[in-house]
Amino acid sequence: MTTENVPVVEKIMNANDQIAMINRKKLDDAGVFAINIMASPGSGKTSTILRTIEDLAPDVRIAVIEGDTAPVTIDSDKVKALGIPAVQINTGGSCHLDAPMFSRGLEQVDLANIDLLIIENVGNLICPAGFMLGSHANVVVASIPEGDDKPYKYPNIYRGIEVMIINKMDLLPYVDFDMDYFRKGVQILNNDAVFFNISCKTGEGVSEWTSWLKNRIQQQKELAK
């Protein structure tokens, strides 16, 4: 029997991306600005979120969606302790959030009464990069002790980001971290990324990051009008 070639040319992530666009529309209609925070485990995603909340709430109304591979509520408990609604998504061992999971989480968020939605993705520098969620800005949090070679080893995650946060700046004097080398790696991959050097421990640089965020939240509100 002869075989026949059928051209397909379809993006393999198409199904995910279409749901991501539906998620985006929901957020846009509600005038909510959503950020997707990605990082390796231990870089300080949760600490960055808590610092961000402390700086912006209650003027900015915030909700958080926490993606975790294990059914532990350690992160969402910390967020709730600040009086901020938090929705926990257990990925059931999976290494990333995808658009359908985010969509289910979104159903539990009171979009009409928030301005900013923060998504904490699963701690991982590889898998989350491939799955659009429908957020407006992807943010990667790196940290000084992780080392300066990450953009060279995990290039994909830096491609689609708008913000690059470098956390634990207070450790810079104690660690061999070549800031120029790190920044160069990110910039080759993504020349438009905005950098913020922060320390969640000392609070250094946090307000620069949150003023960027405030601007974007405002823009999003105006677009929805």
Partner: protein
Amino acid sequence: MHELSVTESILNIAKNHAEKAKAKQVTDIHIVIGALSSIVDDSIQFYWDIITQDTICASAQLHFKRVPAKLTCQDCNHTYTIEDELSPCPKCGSIRIKVVGGEEFWLESIEIER
């Protein structure tokens, strides 16, 4: 680990197109993977053999075409590919670079028997 959901997605796309073409079975599947897309073909193959059992794709061979990361310097227009470590423009040293290839991740074509 994310290769499982990716593999399911490949199967869905292949099945859709095979049904549309009224295929009896799918014999080959051609996939293009860019170097920047962080997909491991071995893992896809591993999941593929498990999830395609009893489907129209059960005996389909996967073929992967790897595409290197291709960059263009925005200062001197030089285009280069990255085989090893990410580097600034080898001609002028600029880091104002545009990624023009290497992010592909698509199903190019299938081969079927009717």
